[in-house]
Amino acid sequence: MENIEKPEIEIAQLRRLIEMIKKRYDYDFSNYAMSSFRRRVQRFIELFRIESMEELIRKLELDKQFFKTFLSEITVNVTEMFRDPTFWVELRDEIIPSILMNKKEFRVWHAGCSSGEEVFSMAILLDEMGILDQVEIVATDIDYSILDKAQQATYNLRNMEEVNKKNYQRFMGKRTLEAYYKVEDGKAVMDKTLLRNVQFVEHNLVNGEKIGVFDLILCRNVMIYFNQTLQNEVLKLFHASLPRYGYLAIGSKESLIWCEYANKFIIVNNNEKIYKKIRD
C-alpha cells in the first residue's frame, strides 16, 4: 500500500496531537472514530514526508496555514452524485411529496456536504420535479477549502462518466446527466444555475451551533467518522434543527439505535435509513 513505512502511530501520540489542536485551534477531534482518524493521520504523514508524530505536532502548532491543509486532508472527501440511487428515488417519490403536502416551500440542510456532489444531486432532483425555486438549501462543511471546491462545481470527468452517470441512470432521472454539465479542459463543469438557491456555510458539527430549522437534513456517511458519544451529540443538534415530522437521512449502513435521542425519531425507510422526528 505504501512504499516508505513510518513507525506505527500510538494512541498516546494521537491524544497529544488532538490536545494541541484543541488548545491552539479550537477544533476538537477527541470524539472522532480512532481507527479512521489514525489512518488519516498516517496518510498525512506519508503524503507530506513527515518524520515523526513529534514533528507533525510541532509543525502544526507553528504554522496555521499548514493546519488548514491538515484539516482538508484529514477529513474524508470521497463522495458520488446519486450515491445509492434507490435513496434518491425514495426522496423523489415519497419523502419530498409528503413534505409538499404540508407546505409549498421548504428548507434542506446538507450537513458535511464535502465537494458538493450530493448538493448537485438534490438540485437536479428538485429541478426535475419543477420545484427547485421553492427550496432553500444550506450546505455546510468543517473545511472551508472544500466549500470553495463545491462552488467551483468542477469535477473529475472519469468519475462523472464511470460513477455518477451510472448512478443517475439507476435513479432514472428525466434527462441524462450530461445535460447538467459541460466538458472544459478535460473536466466536467456543472451548470452553476443549479446552485442559485444554495448557501454554502463553514460549520463544524462538533460543538456545532444550530443554524436554523430544516424540513429535511441529509448527513450521509459523515457520522461514521465519529464515535458514539459524538454521534449522540450531533443527533441532538439535528433534533433541535428539525420541526416535528421533519426528516433526517443518514448513510445506508449507519444507525441511530444506540443514540440517546433515538426514541424521538421513527424510521420511515430502513433500507435507505430515513428517519422522521416524532417527539420534541
Binding site: 500500500m1 480512532m34 481507527s35 463522495t79 456517511n221 464515535n227
Partner: protein
C-alpha cells in the same frame, strides 16, 4: 492431517479476505463450521458496488449460518459472521466495534481487505487470525504483513488450489505466513481451534 502448533484459545477474532474464486471456498468453510463456533468472523470479499442487497443472504442460504452486514459502530459479538457491505470499507475500532468508511478505494477495492486486516490487527494484536483466499489482485498482502508484525496468526489458501493465486502468493511474498493450507485443512484447523474453547 496437518499439525497446528499455534492452536490456542487466546484468539478473539478471525478475519477472512478473498476475491475472484473465493466464494465457493468461503461457503465450504462456513458450512463446515460447528454451530457453536465461538469466535466472531469478519469477512471482506470483493464484490460489485452496485449490488447492495443479496450477497450476505446468498452466503447465509448456502452455508446455513446467519451472515450479517454490520452497521457502523456495531458491537463485535461472539460467534457471529460479518460481511463487509458493498461500497464501504469495513474497519475495526478499539473497543470491539466495527466502523465503516467511504474513504478512497485501496488497491482499487472498496471494501479493501488491507484496511480490514490492518485495523483488526491494530485493535486485536496477537489475538487475531487472518485468512487470505483465492484472488486476482494484491489486496490483503499488506494487511497480512501487519497481522504478522502485531503478533497475529497468518494463514493463506494453498496457491495450487486457488482459482487465481495472485492474492495468497502476494501475501507469501510480503510477509511470513504461518500456515499455507488447502480448504479442507483450513476447515480442520478451525475445528481444532473450536475444541480449544470447549
Amino acid at each position: 492431517m496437518a499439525r497446528f502448533d499455534h492452536i490456542s484459545s487466546k484468539y478473539k477474532l478471525i478475519v477472512i479476505g478473498g476475491s475472484a474464486g473465493s466464494f465457493q471456498v468461503v461457503s465450504r468453510i462456513l458450512q463446515a463450521l460447528p454451530e457453536d463456533f465461538p469466535l466472531p468472523i469478519a469477512m471482506c470479499l470483493h464484490r460489485l458496488k452496485d449490488v447492495r442487497e443479496g450477497f450476505a443472504e446468498a452466503l447465509s442460504l448456502k452455508t446455513n449460518k446467519p451472515v450479517v452486514e454490520p452497521l457502523d459502530k456495531e458491537l463485535i459479538k461472539k460467534g457471529t459472521i460479518y460481511l463487509a457491505p458493498a461500497n464501504y470499507h469495513l474497519c475495526v475500532e478499539l473497543g470491539q466495534t466495527f466502523s465503516l468508511s467511504t474513504e478512497e478505494p485501496v488497491n482499487n477495492s472498496r471494501p479493501s481487505i488491507d484496511l480490514l486486516f490492518e485495523t483488526a490487527a491494530y485493535a486485536y494484536r496477537d489475538k487475531l487470525i487472518g485468512i487470505l483466499l483465492s484472488g486476482a489482485n494484491r489486496d490483503g498482502a499488506w494487511g497480512m504483513k501487519k497481522i504478522h508484525e502485531r503478533g497475529g496468526l497468518t494463514i493463506v489458501q494453498e496457491p495450487s488450489e486457488c482459482l487465481i493465486d495472485t492474492m495468497p502468493a502476494s501475501a507469501m511474498q510480503a510477509t511470513r505466513i504461518d500456515y499455507v493450507l488447502r480448504s479442507d485443512q483450513i476447515i480442520d484447523f478451525l475445528r481444532k481451534l473450536h475444541k480449544q474453547y470447549a
